[in-house]
Symmetry: C2
Subunit: 209 residues, 2 copies
DNA sequence: TGTACATCAGTGAACGCGCGTTCACTGATGTAC
DNA sequence: TGTACATCAGTGAACGCGCGTTCACTGATGTAC
């Protein structure tokens, strides 16, 4: 669409882009619809032709985030042809943590419960479910649940570990530069320990273990 | 201090208590100083006799949170006299996750980066450092870092795992009732897998591992 | 014990601000004939 | 191809609201003598 037209042409997308940018800059909570509109170069009222309200814009951004995360998880483990299952999971973990590191504001939004009435946003719900399903598939393809282990305990452990690492990293709780190189290195270290199991580092202690 | 006095007696503490309550009810971002004051039964201007500004009140709540977390981590692993190292770590993990589950709003605040200029709040910084040091001690007492393992990789792995689980739980990403019983059960499952190591569940895959 | 006075810790009104949303409007676009 | 007209997608002004913070004030407290 040529510049200077009265009608924007693709304002919906422009608004989502502006919102996403502002979410990265100021955090998901401190972004006003007016600022989003301004960032897209339109008046404050313009977004209402494309979204019900402010929350719907934020939900659209979160939806986009889950779709991207799903894509990156799906592409990640194909890096090495002759990789073993742990290696493939490690690659997926690196993709997860690097996604968070690349989009910390977006990542916070996605897991913030800011959109608590999720049922109002079926696209968001579906995109989130797809991302979590992808995690389940990755674990299921590479690990086997032995009899006696609780269902989903493997998925939950792997997910918790990379999710926790991602959160601690982007919240600046680790004394580490937040480059993707460092994020990948930390993820490799952590998933290596997770692979071996804490058991193998166990100290006898005062009365056995 | 008797009721009905003009002077409150311990307004500072009452304000922190009110703030904490509201943070649980509405989340850390949506709590206004006016609402906090109202909750403490005083006028909007009263808090300024005890705090520099709104952020300082929030920082005081976060500081309290880190102190409580430290206490609960320190007390947790003494439950069983004849426990092994993994059992003690598991107990600490349960304490961590249950703390989050008991105080989801507070927990979010503590890790939210909402108080980004942390150097402005030395008490907060110190309380947070003490909590993290406690985690380090717990791991150090129970696990031994073998030569070749990156420094702190054990702490980081254990921390990431329980932190991630706590976050996923309180953000409602797990289809689970958020009782402490369920929180403890999940933590036991997850730390059990973490203890054994994902390696032991590994699937051969198309070309070995 | 009584009194004068400084200080402490509240009050309530007011400030300017940015917010989400609504509204009547109007220019641009697209379609029927 | 030209024209009439419906619809689409913007504008800009305005609404009421809650916010953080400041201010002059005043009642309560505590201390010196």
């Amino acid at each position: 669409v040529s510049k200077g037209t009265y009608h924007h042409g693709d304002l919906r997308r422009a608004i989502v882009r502006s919102a996403r940018k502002l979410i990265e800059e100021r955090g998901p909570h401190d972004v006003s619809l007016r600022a989003i509109a301004k960032g897209a170069g339109v008046s404050s009222a313009a977004p209402y032709h494309h979204f019900d309200d402010r929350t719907a814009v934020i939900a659209a951004v979160a939806t986009e985030g889950f779709r991207e995360l799903t894509d990156r998880l799906g592409l990640a483990p194909t890096g090495l042809q002759d990789a073993g299952p742990l290696q493939r999971l490690q690659d997926a973990g690196i993709a997860y943590v690097c996604f968070a590191n690349d989009n910390p504001g977006l990542f916070r939004l996605m897991f913030s419960g800011l959109l608590s009435e999720r049922s109002r946003y079926p696209d968001l719900q579906e995109a989130a479910a797809a991302a979590f399903a992808m995690l389940g598939e990755l674990v299921g393809e590479n690990l086997a649940r032995p009899p006696g282990e609780a269902t989903d305990a493997l998925v939950l452990t792997a997910w918790s570990t990379v999710h926790g690492l991602a959160v601690l990293l982007i919240e600046g709780r680790l004394d580490v530069r937040q480059t993707n190189e460092d994020a990948a290195r930390l993820t490799r270290e952590v998933t290596r320990v997770l692979g071996r199991g804490l058991r193998s580092y166990s100290r006898p202690g005062r009365d056995g273990g």
